[in-house]
């Protein structure tokens, strides 16, 4: 069937031209049903684990989303040459095709105040604001040549997560849950953790779009009620909840027997999973069995690392429990003003926990099967931005080049992919588009981005739209 599916997609256009009458769609429906990836077969458990397209190392993803566009020039991509331009505008020949959100093309260049140091055996340079991440240099594949088309936050986030600036498409976490199902018996397949303030994209960043809502990200809060409506209402104990569920099950089964409608068995299944989530959710938040060393490594019990450390540790615990895709959203890195101060603040919150997560996963042998991604929706300009003349400068949005890193799950660490020009304005070598990154992440999970499709409005949609190619250099 795989072969047929492959053949089918290869010849799709031709096929449809010949079969205007709809044979094509029937064939597709058939192929998809065989493949087990049709979502409207409500009878089956839509989250049952599924085989990937091909064998692969990564089984899980932890996506550390850095909302707002962190400054690559001050974190990952040193530009000593920028100092020469500091305080001067760039020549028009260099800026004429730039699309910028706020600053004018003749804005003055802002040199970076950061010091960069080489780390690990690989000797990759990282900024003094992120020494902990730097210490994991040999695990990290740093891409310095990312680029995107979107230069505003919400469209940029939409492109990063759904592959399109048009809203309403499924996001990467939903695609992965759809493609691989969930390996967890008692937790959702796609979980979202958030710290800092809310993101521009809001819930659209983890939406299932036109995929069934089964695949949408479930927001998990790191205090209080971790999942919406997880807690029993007042007056309902674990025991009464169980009794209530037993009655519901009895009556549902009776209805199933009478009507013969198999969606009722799926409903029964959902209630049982919900009940297990009610105990598994709070258990995840119980760190009492974590060693003091672990808690210290993440920075759980101190400020300012606490909120992000809790999320990073939760991410590891979720991966251990089989959650397929964990997204950690941290907002916001949108430093239009007071760059030095605000950037430091976010680094102080996130640097240590992010590095601890890599170390912890590695110690436990989980890094091989877990793909860890650190990415924003775009980068920041080499030019400075002043909104009010009496403030410290920041940087504007920059879609043309920025840095992202990936570790674990079949990705080769200790290397840099791509290069930008001397002033960090354009990619100079090995351009990596957002779609290429998405294609590569799916590839690491054993999914062919051209074959992971869903039929909607008469078209087979995929995460990478009509583009994307796997970045071979990133792989082991």
């Amino acid at each position: 069937m795989r072969f047929q599916e492959h053949l089918f997609i290869e010849t799709r256009r031709d096929f449809f031209r010949k079969s205007l009458g709809g044979v094509g769609t029937m064939a597709l429906a058939h192929v998809m049903a065989q493949d087990g990836r049709t979502a409207d077969t409500a009878e089956a458990n839509p989250l049952a684990p599924r085989e990937p397209h091909f064998a692969a190392k990564a089984k899980n993803v932890i996506f550390m989303f850095q909302e707002g566009g962190p400054s690559q020039i001050d974190l990952y991509d040193p530009k000593p040459a920028l100092q020469k331009w500091h305080g001067k505008p760039l020549p028009e020949s260099m800026t004429k095709d730039l699309t910028l959100a706020f600053v004018k093309p003749d804005a003055k260049v802002l040199g970076s105040e950061r010091k960069f140091t080489r780390h690990g055996k690989s000797g990759v340079e990282y900024s003094d604001y992120i020494p902990h991440i730097g210490s994991r240099a040999d695990d990290i594949c740093l891409i310095r040549s990312m680029f995107t088309e979107a230069f505003n936050h919400h469209p940029g986030q939409s492109l990063l997560f759904s592959g399109s600036t048009q809203f309403g498409r499924p996001t990467i976490g939903a695609w992965v849950s759809y493609g691989l199902g969930s390996a967890s018996e008692n937790l959702p397949g796609f979980v979202v953790l958030s710290s800092g303030r809310g993101t521009s994209g809001g819930s659209m960043n983890w939406a299932s779009g036109f995929l069934p809502s089964t695949y949408q990200g479930v927001v998990f809060r790191n205090s209080g009620d971790p999942i919406l409506y997880l807690q029993n209402p007042p007056g309902v104990s674990g025991e009464t909840q169980r009794a209530r569920l037993d009655l519901i099950r009895q009556l549902n089964q009776e209805r199933l027997a009478l009507t013969g409608d198999t969606t009722i068995s799926s409903r029964i299944h959902s209630y049982e999973l919900a009940f297990r989530m009610q105990s598994a959710g709070p258990e995840l938040l119980d760190f009492s069995k974590e060693s003091p060393a672990t808690l210290e490594m993440y920075g759980v019990n101190k400020e300012p690392t606490h909120p992000y450390a809790v999320n990073c540790l939760l991410a590891r615990r979720m991966v251990e429990s089989g959650v397929r895709f964990v997204m950690l959203a941290h907002a916001s890195w949108d430093d239009h003003q007071e760059l030095s101060k605000k950037l430091k603040k976010n680094c102080d919150i996130t640097d240590q926990p992010a590095a601890a997560l890599l170390r912890d996963l590695k110690q436990r042998g989980l890094l091989e099967t877990t793909l860890v991604v650190w990415a924003g929706e775009f980068g920041r300009t080499p030019m400075g931005q002043l909104e009010r003349i009496d403030e410290d400068p920041g940087r504007d949005h920059h879609p043309n080049c920025y840095s992202v890193w990936v570790a674990g799950g079949g990705v080769r660490g200790g290397q840099v992919v791509g290069r930008t020009d001397d002033i960090g304005l354009q990619v100079a070598e090995d351009k990596v588009h957002v779609h290429d990154l998405q294609a590569t992440l799916l590839h690491c999970l054993g999914l062919d981005h051209t074959r992971l499709t869903y039929r909607h409005m008469g078209r087979d949609f995929r995460l990478t739209d009509v583009a994307g190619s796997v970045v071979g250099k990133m792989l082991v």
């Binding site: 303030r197 809502s213 209080g224 919406l228 009507t259 078209r459």
Partner: protein, 837 residues
């Protein structure tokens, strides 16, 4: 450049021998007689020399300047032609180059002269036939013509239709389908006792006259219109007047406005002669596009994207075609060219956004009476705080900043904010003060008061006490009667924009200019003068249109049977599925048009058919053969849509506040939901009193942080037209029904209702209220055992009982009310409760 090009062939090139076969073999599939991707056609000399949407591709004599050559030679960034298959060989490129350099000689050849584009043969583009209901062997089953089509199909397969559903199931089904609410026990009882003929038809007629009918069908329409109460995107500002269009939709369905009129008013109500306020409100359909107010967004870019969205949405909703696919390129599967898409776009390109006064009955009198007093007080406030004196110079400086971008950083940002937050900012600024409407005058003044700090700094702004002023202005406004307003689109004759193809959908890359027009493969379009939106609207509902009626009746059918006659109700194009009952679809579409596009009559016809009234019980022997129920050998059990899940719980517990229409409400939302909006900026001031208990369709839809219960049950995200909803089945739904305070409260109120009303058998009463039936003996046994156990448990835990049911119900012990609450909650969680069978 020339270096990278393959060498030009040295010998003279013969078009017929060397070039024509090459074009035919490698180019015509996309640029030939059938398809002209990007508007380019290489089988016809004149067309080829004219080029594509982006301009000429052949410059005779100058191969290096010919885009065609650059594309096949791989000299264009990121793009190579042909896009599939092997690249052209060096020799082929050389021949092409030589041919162009030698003057691109193109003699007339047999078969290459302008071949007409072939007329598509796809089923949905053919005229709607008026088929006669077929004869059937069984002559007693059919109740109306629909059934003869259904039965004839079943008889071909030798399948008997299912028996009619029992009366309880039937009334629950049809009440949900027509009003979105469960039937009241008294209505069920009355129906069971009605032994006269046409008892069911009387139920149907009562429901069609219920004002809740308009609510249920408005919700269906809101899905298509991508209705929401906020802008979307990062800022996601609330749209305080969006509801007024929804109100119009509800009233239209309740008044049984003919669908053709309903269409014309929404597409072009503003252009109707002597358009009424209500007709103008109808155009609010197009105001449901998203709006991006992020800093750095180009205003024109967003205007273009909104117009594109309007054209694409009209294509999906009325034509059932994914016309939006053609915004970047010619449609890959359907015969819609990119040029034709931008011809649709051109209909909408001169319509701009306005808010108009749209008073509901009873608002005008008090408003007019108090208006002079309000104006006086407002003016007093403005002069007290020196607004009148400061605003003029601020406006003058703003205009200067606009003319000199990049000169004053603070003013640049202030101007950007003015454009983003104040609609029509530039036009208001350009108008002399005395020529501005009152609405615009107030709008710019309010903006000034809120944003003046951007240019004078917070300190000086604080001294002016503008925050106090703002508060007082708002209080003043709130203390005087106001008129409802409505978002509309309308045309200003002074603004005439040219329309162009946008290459690859990019707002900046304009291709050839286009005039308003419709896809050429559909029925004719003959406007009397220059084509307007009103002509387009009339064309959509022309009796010759093969799509609108089919697409519309199919979506209605889908709502009544769980799937359309065409399952892909969003796609009637080549990629969509074929109708399972093509003749039935045509008959329904014809009947719909012939009867004056009456929606209620069509709904009545469908729900009174024997096909609709069948039982939904599984028939394993047939279901294996027909898993998707395409043959209609039975009805389907369908989980209720999100809003109805809420409405059903509120209704059976009598918590529902059943007012029709009006503003959106904000029922309590769990902590941590709106906090996830951008910077936590979305506010959710909870509605008070009975507004918390309004139907789901009135819940304010905030695009970036929608009400979680609605999303858990597959409500659409309001980004694009949603033609059909998923019916997923998730653990979050279980948690939602078990533990959400709304459903907890419903369980309490339902328990109280049962205890209050149930003088006889209370278990019976509970089942009758919630499920429109009585329990089976086994069910009763389980329920009573459960109740008994709960009572025992709660007697040991009086605190739990207190929490489960925190009120005193006279005559009932706390453990009793608490145990009944637990039981009621279980019933609200039954699959059957959230399913119409």
């Amino acid at each position: 450049m020339a270096v990278a090009l393959a060498a030009s062939a040295a010998e003279p090139v013969d078009f017929a021998r060397d070039i024509a076969p090459l074009f035919e073999k490698r180019c015509h599939a996309c640029h030939g007689p059938r398809t002209q991707m990007n508007g380019l056609r290489l089988d016809d000399r004149a067309a080829a020399l004219k080029g594509g949407n982006g301009g000429p591709v052949l410059v005779p004599g100058k191969s290096a300047e010919s885009r065609l050559l650059r594309l096949v030679a791989g000299l264009e960034d990121k793009k190579i032609m042909p896009p599939a298959g092997p690249r052209l060989t060096q020799r082929e490129v050389g021949l092409l180059r030589a041919w162009i350099d030698q003057g691109a000689n193109w003699p007339d050849l047999p078969g290459t002269a302008s071949a007409p584009t072939s007329r598509p043969t796809h089923w949905s583009f053919q005229p709607i036939a008026r088929p006669k209901p077929p004869p059937t062997r069984n002559e007693t089953w059919a109740r109306n013509p629909i059934d003869r089509f259904v039965l004839a199909r079943l008889e071909r397969e030798n399948i008997e239709p299912s028996p009619e559903a029992d009366r309880r199931t039937l009334i629950r089904r049809v009440t949900f389908d027509l009003t979105g609410l469960p039937p009241a026990p008294a209505d069920v009882a009355a129906f069971l006792l009605d032994n006269r003929p046409e008892a069911y038809e009387r139920v149907v007629d009562r429901l069609l006259e219920s004002p809740h009918y308009g609510e249920r069908w408005a919700r269906h329409w809101l899905d298509l219109a991508r209705y929401a109460d906020s802008d979307g995107y990062e800022k996601d500002y609330v749209r305080p007047h969006a509801w007024r269009w929804r109100h119009w939709v509800i009233e239209s369905f309740n008044q049984d406005k003919p669908f053709n009129q309903f269409t014309i008013e929404q597409i072009a109500g503003d252009l109707l002669p002597n358009a009424t306020v209500e007709q103008r409100i109808a155009t609010g359909f197009h105001r449901n596009t998203l709006t991006n107010r992020e800093g750095g967004v180009n205003i024109e870019q967003f205007r273009v994207e909104q117009v594109i969205d309007r054209a694409a949405t009209a294509g999906t909703v009325w034509l059932g075609l994914s016309t939006g696919c053609a915004q970047c390129h010619d449609h890959k599967y359907d015969p819609i060219t990119q040029k034709e898409f931008y011809q649709l776009y051109a209909f909408f390109n001169n319509a701009d956004e306005y808010e108009i006064d749209a008073p509901l009955a009873g608002e005008m009198g008090p408003y007019l009476q108090k208006l002079p007093e309000y104006r006086r007080k407002r003016d007093e406030l403005l002069s007290k705080y020196r607004v009148s004196e400061l605003q003029g110079p601020w406006e003058a400086r703003m205009k200067e900043a606009r003319a000199n971008p990049g000169r004053w950083t603070d003013w640049d940002h202030a101007y950007d904010a003015l454009q983003k937050y104040l609609d029509h900012a530039d036009r208001i600024l350009n108008l002399p003060v005395e020529k501005r409407s009152r609405k615009w005058t107030d709008a710019i003044t309010d903006h000034f008061v809120i944003n003046y700090h951007r240019v004078i700094g917070k300190d000086e702004w604080k001294e002016l006490k503008f925050t106090d002023l703002r508060k007082q202005l708002n209080e003043l406004k709130d203390s005087y009667p106001r008129l409802s307003e409505a978002p509309i689109i309308a045309e200003d004759p002074a603004i005439r924009r040219k329309s162009n193809i946008h290459l690859r959908g990019d707002w900046k890359r304009k291709g050839a200019e286009v005039q308003p027009g419709v896809p050429g493969f559909l029925h004719g379009f003959e406007p009397a003068g220059p084509a307007t939106r009103l002509d387009f609207a009339a064309w959509l509902v022309s009796p010759r249109n093969p799509l609108t009626a089919r697409v519309t009746v199919n979506r209605f059918w889908q709502e009544f049977f769980g799937r359309g006659v065409v399952r892909t109700s969003d796609d009637f194009g080549a990629q969509g599925e074929k109708p399972t009952h093509p003749e039935l679809l045509d008959w329904l579409a014809g009947r719909f048009m012939d009867s004056g596009w009456r929606v209620k009559a069509l709904h009545r016809l469908i729900v009174t058919s024997a096909a609709y009234r069948q039982s939904s019980r599984a028939r394993p022997e047939i279901d294996v053969r027909d898993a998707a129920h395409t043959l209609l050998a039975r009805q389907s059990r369908l989980r209720l849509p999100a809003e109805s899940v809420r409405d059903a719980a509120l209704s059976v517990s009598e918590l529902l506040y059943p007012a029709i229409g009006g503003k959106s409400v904000r029922p309590p939302i769990p902590k941590g939901v709106v906090e996830l909006s951008y910077g936590g900026s979305v506010k959710w001031p909870e509605s008070e009193g009975r507004d918390r208990y309004r139907r789901g369709l009135y819940i304010l839809f905030q695009r970036t942080v929608p009400y979680p219960m609605l999303m858990n049950f597959d409500a659409p995200d309001a980004n694009t037209a949603a033609c059909r909803r998923e019916r997923s089945n998730t653990p979050l739904q279980a948690l939602n029904l078990l533990n959400d305070p709304v459903f907890v409260e419903a369980a309490q109120a339902l328990a109280a209702r049962v205890l209050r009303e149930g003088s006889g058998d209370r278990v019976d009463r509970l089942f009758e209220i919630a499920l429109a039936r009585t329990p089976s003996p086994r069910e009763r046994e389980w329920v009573e055992a459960y109740l008994h156990k709960q009572v025992q448990l709660l007697e040991r835990n009086p605190k739990q009982a207190e929490e489960l049911f925190p009120l005193d119900l006279p005559g009932h012990a706390r453990v009793e009310t608490a145990a009944w609450t637990a039981l009621s909650s279980a019933v609200l969680n039954l699959d059957e409760f959230i399913t119409r069978e």
